[in-house]
Amino acid sequence: MGRENDQKVGAVLVVGGGIGGIQASLDLAESGFKVYLVDMSTSIGGVMAQLDKTFPTNDCSMCILSPKLVECGRHLNIEVKTYTQVKDIQGNAGDFRVNLVRKPRYINPQKCTGCGQCAKYCPVGASDTFNENLSERAAIYIGYPQAVPLAYAIDRDKCIGCGLCSNICLVDAVQYSQEEQEEVIDVGAVILAPGFEEFDAHLKGEYGYGRYPNVVTSIEFERILSASGPYRGRVLRPSDGDIPQKIAFIQCVGSRDETCGNNYCSSVCCMYAIKEAVVAKEHVREIQPSIFFMDLRAYGKDFDKYYQRAKEEWVRFVRGRVSSVEEMPQTQNLKIKYEMDDSKLMEEEFNLVVLSVGFEPSPGIQTLAQKLGIELNEYGFCKTYQFSPVETTRPGVFVCGAFQGPKDIPETVMQASGAASCVADLLSSVRGSLTRERIFPPEIDVRGQSPRIGVFVCHCGINIGGVVNVPEVAEYVRTLSNVVYAEHNLYTCSQDTQLRIKELIKEHNLNRIVVASCSPRTHEPLFQETIREAGLNRYLFEMANIRDQCSWVHMHEPEKATQKSKELVRMAVAKACLLQPLKRLELPVTRRGLVIGGGLSGMTAASSLAEQGFEVYLVERERELGGNLKKIHYTLNGMDVQGYLKGIIERVRANPLINVYTNARIKEVAGYVGNFKTTIIADGAERELEHGVVIVATGGREYQPEEYLYGKDAKVITQRELEEKIAHGDNAVLNSNTIVMIQCVGSRENERPYCSRICCTETVKNALKIKEKNPKANIFILYREVRTYGFREDYYRKAREVGIIFIRFDEDKKPKVAKGKKALEVLVREPILGEEILLRPDLLVLSVGIVPQPDNKKLAKMLKVPLNEDGFYLEAQMKLRPVDFATEGIFLCGLAHSPKLMDESISQAYAAASRASTILAKDKMEIEGMIATVNEFRCTGCGMCISVCAYNALELDEEKKVARVNEALCKGCGACSATCRCGAIDVLGVSNEQILSLVDAL
């Protein structure tokens, strides 16, 4: 406190409006900081907005991104500054002064409604960069249909200044007089999330990109697949609009490639190629995709399952290196020459070739880095350290996403939240100093009014409109009683439609709104907020899910899907007639956190929360803190792990806000978000802890192998045991002549189908270490796929350079290990030679996988959170909520989530802390309005509801002899209502009458 704090500024600059920047902004804004979100382009959304689907769930990218875009756009404490760049930055951590330059967009975004009339008439055309130049847009344009802010901009390079747009515009939004503007803002910290640039495929001349129209990059193909893309979601090839029957994906274009200087692995191309292949095939079943790859790096959570499924059902995988692509003049088909694993040269003709281009730092990043005074690594990505993965070399400047290294969306989101947490650590003393609260207009009293329902039917691009006859549905809806207005929208969730809904509510005095679009599970809150802003109570809203329940699942029966859509909307309208306004209760929040697990993740999360000023209970089952980290001694790049561990344990122990309970276990968890009561038994004593959030960081375990003579022969050890021996200078190990390492032991098998992610890196690390100490050692690594993703690829290359021999084996031809007369005998079938090789190692090292904690089930049950099929905790949503559980107030990180490396665990731990702090930052929180209610006249006080309630939310009013609802405890499940014989207890918002109205409208 005191003087130091006075200098800090409770605002944050986030550079880059992609998903990373968006997540960081939302987290920070929710935990009490003012955010300036700056993006160079005319709207936020970044690359994710361009994607069609996301792996491994095939979620529609725009569908999950759009609500976040809108939330960002409408958040009171996020100032979105588009078309803006950072000019320079001065000051120190806690107090920076930033100069921003805003390019003129010649449109007043406050006035522009995004109607698009101007673009329709603009006489000047330009290439559409959003569609990767596969189509044209006008000189006046908008990034994409769901863009936030939804405001057009004039491309000054193209515009001839004819003035037509100004003539057309009905709201006078065009301002030709705009000029470049400078602005100075004061912030306490900076988060860099500028993203990446795709590798320029022209540079790989042998693939013919730029020369042959039917060679496209993966991002171009992504646009081709997208409903809002150049071909409206049809898989067509650019040369002639035919459907490409055979599509070849060429992997590692501009990655793992010394010739172009990008030695690193871009980490995501394998997965997106599989996704694009699968999605293409989903579009047209007859399409035959082939993926040409070196190593298939499906290392993430549930990735291997996705890969296996693709392999079995959809996609042909060819392990081979493509040397050239040649166009056949007549057909414009492409002849691919490639070299198989066994050096055999092959040729094959394809109709379309997709180049899986890698990631590069954005071109302008070097200048930005100079301005900001941060260091870059040898490839031009942001320089960070293993133990501080979101910190740049300049204090107070943080980084997340692909700028830190190639990574996928969930990793980016985790890092974004992680960076937000680090910012909050730094600025906790000025939390809330610059934020404002949202003030809604007073609610319109609709009681006593007859229903006036407005219905909005969404095309969802072609997601719905491509199957369901949306205009027909809207037409039908107009015939329903109480519907006074109905229309259909391209995207009902887009910001312009939100404005429209609000206007229409006023114009037509609507008092109930029905949206027929996608799942209420994802989009209900967005629409509820919109109608609330229009003065309607947020519960006067109902949804019909005609996408997930009609267009997507009845793709081949458009008429039936349309008919069903009509019925679903009819049902929704019937229910809407009975909707009543509900109140939301405010509850106090216990501003303390509980972190379960005292390993690296748990300690990191706990200290981050403590740094932010929140008290934390850290519960560890073992006597000592440290978890798995206790067994790890050095990192791939040689950093001292034990030293780091010692440091963090000291920090945790010394922090007065962290209460550490070791030798402890959770006995019972009661309560709910903001108000948990957990009973633990620590050192035999029972203790009750009160806290507002839970972070699950229970870690994972090393798989205990039974295969390959482990435990039966002392020469067979695991990588961890090897590391231990190396660290202790075990001469027997260091002097071994021949060492064999076997990968994927216990991973990627029937029982544990997932990849343990870390083993390849560990193996390379240990092999290099041995080579370093004993260059004469012969090391053989028997692998299925080397998954040294990202910059770890450098070490894999180095390992090959120093003579470590990598021998691949097939899944169904595992190495055989036997006790020979003198030594161990390892027999492996070498696929290149097609021969069996016999090795006689002095030491056999098994790279064993990570398994979930055996007691996850128990804790999961206590916390009421799910596990996935492999036994790891299952997050709320794989892409955009990677550290949240569906149950509010509970978060996860580290190995409990899935196997991951140290820096990734640290990022995720910070992320969990960040998400947790969005709750702890407030002293009260709103709770749901959909809770039980008792009709005292009908109630006989029989108590059946009390005994079925799992939350103790019901009690008997002894005087009146009726049941009473504790609104703070009620979750609105309705078990009471369905049990009550007297019809005396009901659930607001899902009342008996409302449900029966749905049934009656069948």
Partner: protein, 260 residues
């Protein structure tokens, strides 16, 4: 060309100068070819390219547009507008394979009765040399008609019309940013817009008759399939056409009836 061919020529004459010039020729008993059928308009600027194409569609072999001399327009600058419009229309005729010399713009004052007669004589003989519309162009009747219809739709397009109307202002007075726009740039854009619109209209006309694939269309229009594909998606976006089926691996498209 048989000597007997007599072209049909439509003349749009402005009320204040050219029509008066023609009157003078009459009063002075100066003869000129009977091929010219005169339509009186208030100003040469009134002559819409649509009218010119309409004349060709109605079997005119040549169109003559006459107005006041530059600087003498009764409506101050109407003839300047005419200049731009006719220039654009000639450009379009060229693009669609019709000899642009079938359209001529000239200035005739009220005093130039003789000059008017000479001009009419000259234009008639020029068109006579070209033969009936389509003959020198080697276009069959159907093809000719289709191109003309597409061209007429093209000049109805707002973008094209706006550009024509603004050209002079942009070049001479400067644009909304206060910069003068070069003739080159404007010509380039005009060319592009005319071509885009014309191709779009031709595609639509083709697809009105039957479903065709991108490759079919490209063949028929002598364009690259790539160029056609770019337009197809855009037309589909605007609800002009829709995919009907897939023939082999080629999706086919058909025009939709427009409700407007």
């Amino acid at each position: 060309m048989p000597r007997s061919f007599e072209p049909e020529i439509v003349g749009f004459l402005c009320n204040w100068c050219s029509y008066a010039g023609a009157d003078l020729a009459g009063v002075s008993r100066i003869s000129y070819p009977a091929n010219l059928k005169v339509i009186r308009v208030m100003c040469s600027g009134r002559v819409d390219p649509v009218m010119v194409l309409e004349a060709f569609l109605n079997q005119a072999d040549g169109v003559l547009v006459l107005g006041c001399h530059l600087g003498e327009c009764h409506y101050i600058s109407g003839n300047y507008q005419a200049e731009r419009k006719i220039k654009m229309t000639r450009k379009l005729l060229q693009k669609i394979g019709i000899n642009p010399n079938r359209l001529h713009l000239d200035w005739i004052s009220a005093a130039e009765g003789e000059r008017f007669a000479k001009l009419a004589e000259w234009f008639t003989s020029q068109v006579r040399k070209l033969g009936p519309l389509g003959s020198s162009e080697e276009l069959k009747e159907n093809e000719l008609k289709e191109r003309l219809v597409a061209a007429r739709q093209t000049v109805e397009n707002e973008k094209v019309r706006w550009m024509v109307g603004k050209e002079r202002e942009l070049m001479e007075m400067g644009n909304v940013y206060g910069e003068r726009v070069s003739q080159n740039l404007l010509d380039f854009l005009m060319d592009k817009n005319l071509f885009d619109e014309f191709v779009k209209n031709r595609i639509y006309l083709l697809l009105e008759k039957r479903a065709l694939s991108v490759k079919d269309i490209a063949r028929k229009l002598g364009l690259s399939p790539r160029e056609v594909l770019r337009r197809i998606a855009k037309m589909e976006d605007r609800g002009l056409i829709a995919m009907t089926d897939v023939e082999g691996w080629s999706p086919r498209y058909k025009a939709l009836k427009l409700s407007e």
